[in-house]
């Protein structure tokens, strides 16, 4: 039986990797992976293959032999003809799929997280509370000092959440509320390990109290549908709902220097 060339093996590994990422990981195991991320992974796989075949001269020669033969060997004219037909067809297909796209608008242009202006002073309505760096949840200390009092604040936070927030952020705080799918970007998922552990409580106070309209000019458009909750909730209610978020999910808020 004729031995399969190294080039063919590498080519098959490359294609198999793409199928694995696109249809196995992005289909059978999980939800689809964006094409841009697949392209990134495929570039790495290509580099891995090229590294493997080019480290040693002998293997590199073995790898490029079929390419060389296809280009210059008189016996390989059929291959050349096939490639001469195939390459333009592939390019045509690529061009067509790019020009004749279905209506599929670009994703949300926002970067990872909104960030308050650096000189930001935390306020509730017109009342100054302090700088983002200094302010702590005034009821957090009850967790150790007075567990009963802490529990009552958490319960109050639970009521505030289910009265106001769950329709978007979901019954289980997972961002899958009834209205969630009407929004782009989707409401925050507090069960995600990258949300609560990455921010201090003062950050949450800022986001809740100022809502979408309070987001900074930098990084616009944010397209956030979050209401300005300081007009509806009291300062205590906002701090209580912040306690409830971490109590329910089990995640701790970020402290100085801490993060995920």
């Amino acid at each position: 039986m004729k031995r399969v060339s190294l080039f063919t093996i590498c080519f098959l590994i490359f294609i198999a990797s793409w199928v694995f990422l696109k249809y196995v990981v992005g289909g059978l195991i999980s939800v689809p992976i964006p094409n841009s991320v697949i392209a990134m992974y495929m570039a790495l796989i290509l580099i891995a293959i090229l590294v493997h075949v080019s480290v040693e001269d002998t293997r590199f020669e073995e790898f490029i032999r079929p390419i060389h033969e296809t280009l210059v060997d008189e016996k390989r004219s059929t291959r050349r003809v096939v490639l001469a037909v195939l390459i333009p067809i592939l390019m045509l297909g690529y061009t067509y799929t790019n020009i004749a796209q279905k209506a599929n608008p670009a994703g949300d242009p926002r970067v990872a997280h909104p960030v308050p202006p650096s000189e930001f002073i935390l306020t509730h309505k017109d009342k100054e509370i302090g700088t983002m760096q200094e302010v702590e949840n005034p009821y957090r200390h009850y967790e150790k000092d007075d567990p009963e009092e802490f529990k009552s604040h958490v319960e109050n936070g639970r009521n505030v959440y289910y009265d106001n927030c769950f329709v978007c952020h979901g019954d289980h705080l997972d961002g899958k509320g009834h209205f969630a799918h009407g929004f782009q970007p989707l409401p925050a998922n507090f069960q995600d390990p990258g949300i609560i552990p990455n921010f201090q409580e003062s950050f949450f106070f800022w986001r809740i109290s100022k809502g979408g309209p309070g987001l900074p000019n930098a990084g616009t458009p944010w397209n956030s549908a979050m209401p300005v909750w300081e007009e509806i909730l009291t300062e205590e209610e906002i701090w209580d709902v912040i306690l409830f978020l971490s109590h329910y999910t089990g995640y701790s808020y970020r402290s100085f220097g801490e993060g995920h």
Partner: protein
């Protein structure tokens, strides 16, 4: 036609550089007087003030990094040569310092240019900074003269101080490094202060504490002293200016600001890595153009050493960077979020890609090098697995957390948000730190294989030794992954990830490397040589990899410098002195990439010119044939 000898040319060049620096220093003196001019800014023609300062500062930094990094390993190599009585090392150290000489003058020239630009374009900013840091600037000048004369004695006295005076020469080399490191530490104070003009309460003198309390009471007349101090702990962040921008502290407190020491350490290690990579790229170029086998052998050996030095610097670099990031978060959480989760977050994906290139490239070079060692074939079977591990870890490292900007609306909808439900975990630092530590361990394994190639240990316990080493690697990798998984857990105490888990991951990786190195040194102490290294037998591809590594290092330094500097956003001194110039906006990532690319091209053009100048008129001499054999079939 030759007007003068290369040596004279170099001297003229050096004198010019010193003169320019001298003029610059005189020019900066008026800046010591406050409000010397009413003009806040003066425009730089054509390219604008910021771009002019950016180009000059970045070029100055790149050359500075080279001339500070190279003497560090040159003196170590010289010491090895002295102890082993192997002249090859001495010659190589001399050649490294020779490369430094031209670059030294250029660094001074560029420093002068930078000062001119700052004095001309940003008089008030410089006035403010010099008002605070005046004494350090005088200290800087003293250090600069110290370094200049030490370098000259060190270089020109190389041949004269052989033999019984060699130890004095080595002391001079160490002194040269001390001067250089001190210079860098001093200049780092100015730029780190611009980013983080604050320090912790415990670091303040009693006078400054009083001045700060007074300023708070003036600012808030309704408050009492007790109320000002309420909630203030030893670690509280205290700004060193009052609301009006007046400086409240002393020079040392300004020097010892939040980011000063992390930047010092990060740059110190980075200089070694960068210096090694530039030397390796130089050797690669000389290898590629070499006409004789001896030349090829020599520059192959030099390239190997340069890459080894770069690797030694590269391995601890992520840890130092992590510390710097942590300090930025501690100084100002908003700045931290901006860095890792907002304005500069995509820069860190680019950083991951580039560091991935560095690690893949460095490993590639080591694996290629094993091709010229007889007996290294036995390790080739592990290579595909090592490639797979490194590439998977790089993939984890470069996976973005938030995919909204690179996904279509339908892709976002399919994922149920901006984070992929599974790959999204790779976007968190817990996963990325795990990946980095595994990459570092794998790179260390590559080096171990390289070191062992062509040698057979004679120690009676070699079997047990190999088992112990294998178990150490396995346990180390398992521990790193387990710690990484624990990092995703809920209910972790405050600060546990940053203060406990991450340091433990680092300790495990470093611990494995240290213990394995010790075992390996003892195991191979009396090893027999089963195969020689055919110096000069490297593939040409591997030499291009060395050049790629130098380019990647240079780009990375430029881009991360943009992040460090850009984090201030609309401030010259964060929170103190606002930038009201036409350049007050933060450049976009694409603009930064373009600028860094332009600077990189200028840098390599200058480096090429300086190296050529250094070689100009060099007498054709037979290079030292470095090792056991010169490859027979390397044409």
């Amino acid at each position: 036609m030759r007007c003068c000898s290369p040596k004279t040319l170099k001297r003229i060049y050096f004198i010019l550089a010193v003169m320019l620096l001298g003029f610059a220093l005189f020019a900066v003196l008026p800046a010591f007087a406050q409000d010397v001019t009413d003009e806040e800014y003066r425009p730089f023609p054509m390219i604008g003030s910021r771009n002019a300062a950016w180009i000059a500062a970045q070029l100055h930094l790149l050359f500075g990094s080279f001339i500070l990094g190279v003497p560090m390993f040159a003196v170590i190599i010289e010491f090895i040569g002295w102890k082993t009585k192997d002249e090859r090392y001495d010659r190589m150290a001399h050649e490294f310092i020779k490369l430094c000489m031209g670059a030294f003058s250029t660094t001074a020239l560029l420093g002068g240019v930078l000062v001119f630009i700052l004095v001309w374009c940003y008089p008030k900013v410089l006035s403010k900074l010099s008002g605070i840091f005046g004494p350090t600037m005088i200290f800087y000048v003293v250090l600069f003269f110290g370094e200049t004369f030490t370098l000259y004695i060190y270089y020109y006295g190389w041949d004269k101080m052989q033999g019984r005076f060699k130890w004095i020469h080595l002391v001079l080399g160490v002194l040269l490094n001390l001067w250089g490191t001190a210079i860098m530490f001093v200049s780092n104070t100015w730029l780190t202060y611009q980013t983080s003009p604050a320090t912790q309460f415990k670091k303040l003198s009693n006078e400054t504490k009083e001045a700060w309390i007074e300023s708070m009471l003036t600012q808030n007349p309704e408050m009492t002293r007790a109320e000002v101090l309420e909630g203030i702990t030893a670690n509280s962040v205290i700004p060193l200016h009052n609301e009006a921008g007046d400086f409240l502290a002393n020079v040392w407190e300004a020097v010892n600001n939040f980011t000063w020491m992390p930047v010092n350490i990060h740059r110190l290690i980075g200089n070694i890595a960068f210096g090694g990579s530039i030397v390796a790229a130089y050797a690669a170029f000389r290898f590629l153009v070499a006409k004789t086998k001896e030349d090829k052998a020599h520059y192959d050996w030099m390239g190997y050493n340069g890459n080894f030095i770069a690797l030694c610097g590269l391995i601890p670099l992520p840890f130092a960077g992590y510390w710097l990031g942590r300090e930025i978060y501690m100084f100002n959480n908003t700045m931290g979020i901006n860095m890792m989760g907002n304005l500069f977050s995509w820069l860190f994906i680019i950083q991951a890609v580039m560091i991935g290139v560095l690690f893949i490239g460095a490993n590639y070079y080591l694996w290629s090098g094993m091709g010229r060692i007889e007996g290294a074939e036995i390790y080739a079977r592990y290579r595909p697995y090592m490639i797979a591990i490194i590439v998977i870890c790089v993939a984890v490292w470069m996976t973005p957390r938030t995919l909204s900007t690179i996904s279509s609306a339908s892709e976002l909808s399919a994922m149920g948000g901006a984070n992929h439900p599974h790959l999204g975990f790779f976007g968190l630092m817990t996963a990325k730190n795990t990946a980095v530590n595994i990459i570092i361990l794998t790179t260390f394994l590559s080096f171990l294989f390289y070191r062992r190639s062509g040698k057979t240990p004679t120690a009676s316990w070699k079997g047990i030794g190999n088992i112990v080493i294998s178990i150490l690697f396995f346990l180390g990798a398992v521990l790193i992954v387990v710690i990484g998984i624990v990092g995703f857990s809920k209910k972790l105490p405050d600060g546990f990830r940053v203060n406990v888990l991450t340091p433990w991951q680092v300790m495990v990786a470093l611990g494995v490397m240290v213990v394995v190195t010790i075992i390996d040194i003892f195991m191979y102490r009396k090893a027999t040589t089963s195969g020689t290294i055919k110096w000069g037998g490297m593939t040409e591809r591997s030499q291009y990899v060395l050049i790629l590594l130098a380019i990647t290092f240079t780009s990375l330094m430029g881009l991360m410098g943009y992040a460090r500097s850009g984090l201030r956003e609309g401030w010259h001194i964060f929170g103190v002195h606002r930038d009201t110039s036409v350049d007050a906006f933060t450049p976009t990532l694409s603009e930064a990439v373009n600028m860094v690319s332009i600077i990189m091209v200028i840098f390599f053009a200058l480096v090429g010119f300086i190296f050529w100048l250094g070689l100009w008129g060099e007498k054709k001499k037979q290079p030292e044939v470095p090792m056991e054999t010169v490859a027979e079939n390397n044409d």
